[in-house]
Amino acid sequence: MKKQFVTLAVATLLVGTAFAQANDTLAKVKAAGSITMGVRDSSGALSYTLGDGKYVGYHVEICQRIIANVEKAVGKKLEVKYTPVTSQNRIPLVENGTVDIECGSTTNNEARQKQVAFAFTTYVEEVRIAVRANSGITSIAQLNGKNVATTTGTTSVQLLRKNERATGVDFKEVFGKDHADSFLLLESGRADAFVMDGQILAGNIANSKAPADFKQVGEVLNVEPIAIMFRKDDPAFKKLADDTIAGMAKSGELAKLYDKWFVQAIPPKNIKLSMPASDANKDAWKNLNDKPVEAYAKK
């Protein structure tokens, strides 16, 4: 009885220290014997589910490499737990320690950098316009007076609003509750255009009933660095993640992974997004950095 009590007290103490060192992710995962990866259900080819609790994608695969290096650093095999996150809960879950490393489609911006930290940018997103191929729309200026769809809870909404004020092009915004819904707005004619991240548009078009009926047109509205996210003020973990990415960039593995997810056929339907790496992407791999989106706008 007494022995059990002592064990309990020691265990409580250990848990206590684990909490005290909340921002030392390496110590935390070593103590727990497991690491939790935050993943998305449908963030294009960056992170998505195949069903059955299986998650795959470009960022998921990069995270798996980082976790392999974490295992080397802590000197033991870790159990990898996958936790699906949403745009609403991903930052609180990383902050409170539920998720150790988020591998989805999070834009690195200044507001978020106050709460969390990002690894080197691994993917540069271009926000673009998708229209029905027969609509004759080729640029944002032609959207005057038209209905423009975008998805609630994305930065594209804010972007549209700013763009509207800057250019005086006056369009009506309609909001889908998720990307599939926004695409339905475009497909059903309720909207004339769908403004969203290029790879999400490509994925929705490739998955639609008649992919030839839709196309991406016009200028790139915005460029956003998308990166893997983890807790702030944890230099050891950030260095490990950054070093892993730097190693992959140097060996050309990053470009190969990109090709695997964004150019070649991907599961589950074996469709091709056919989106060769943009110059912005190649530039990010060459000059590795964790600059927020605001730094891109200044260029």
Partner: protein, 244 residues
């Protein structure tokens, strides 16, 4: 985790603060819920009455069947699915509906969904009364319309007022499904703004407070009406006086 309420004073990029936007969104929530309440009460009461009509003429039999079908149709389909049917499916079938604004569709969708529940309450309220009341009215020579207007409905409404209060509050909270068809109401505001500002906790707390205040206001108004309608000595409305 520290809360940062300054976030509501920031500009949203379009020339208004997040606070202003939140009150606009609140306005949408109240408009959707208010309009849907009117639709729900009007069609719900009509259907509830039709279901209790005396089955003595062929017309009444068919009216009761229609009302039964109405209630079963609207209460057996989840409300979110109904909203989608109104917004995406019906306009495909009837292209003219393409031009109808989303606001009208969501008011109809939410209103008819709630109407099925109001109809059932009213039916229960009428059927809970002793059958003698109806017979007494008939014996006095009242027409069916007069029987309902002067004998059955005044008591039935007093009986069902407390559940009707809950239903009205539910309707206000159910109005959050309007976000699914791009009405810029509070739930959509919360989802969008927490993304733009990365201050989800503050945004959701504020929106929760607004929902609570609105629902409680509905509760108080309904309770006031309940007190005012009280008939001294009538057991059903009793001397409870509250709406909780």
């Amino acid at each position: 985790m520290t809360l940062d309420w300054q976030v509501f004073l920031q500009d949203d990029g379009g020339g208004r603060t997040y606070l202003e936007w939140m009150f606009e969104a609140w306005g949408w929530t109240l408009s959707v819920a208010g309009s849907a309440w009117v639709v729900a009460m009007a069609s719900g009461c009509l259907m509830g009455i039709l279901r209790t009509l005396p089955q003595d003429t062929r017309l009444n039999v068919w009216l009761a069947r229609l009302a039964n079908a109405w209630v079963e149709l609207f209460r057996n389909i989840p409300v979110l699915v109904q909203i989608f049917l109104w917004y995406f499916v019906l306009p495909k079938v009837f292209p003219a509906m393409q031009q109808v604004p989303g606001f009208v569709l969501v008011v109809l969708g939410l209103g008819f969904f709630t109407s099925s529940r109001v109809a059932e309450m009213l039916r229960a309220g009428i059927q809970a009364m002793p059958r003698g009341q109806r017979y007494a009215a008939m014996a006095m020579g009242f027409t069916t319309w007069q029987t309902y207007r002067y004998v059955l409905l005044p008591i039935a409404f007093r009986t069902i007022w407390p559940p009707l209060t809950s239903e009205s509050m539910n309707l206000l909270k159910n109005s959050s499904v309007a976000f699914a068809v791009s009405i810029a109401e509070l739930t959509m505001y919360a989802m969008q703004v927490q993304e733009e500002t990365s201050r989800g906790i503050e945004v959701y707390l504020a929106v929760t407070a607004l929902y609570t205040v609105s629902a409680f206001a509905v509760n108080r108004v309904m309770a006031l009406v309940e007190r005012r309608m009280q008939i001294p000595g009538l057991v059903v409305a009793g001397n409870v006086g509250g709406g909780h």
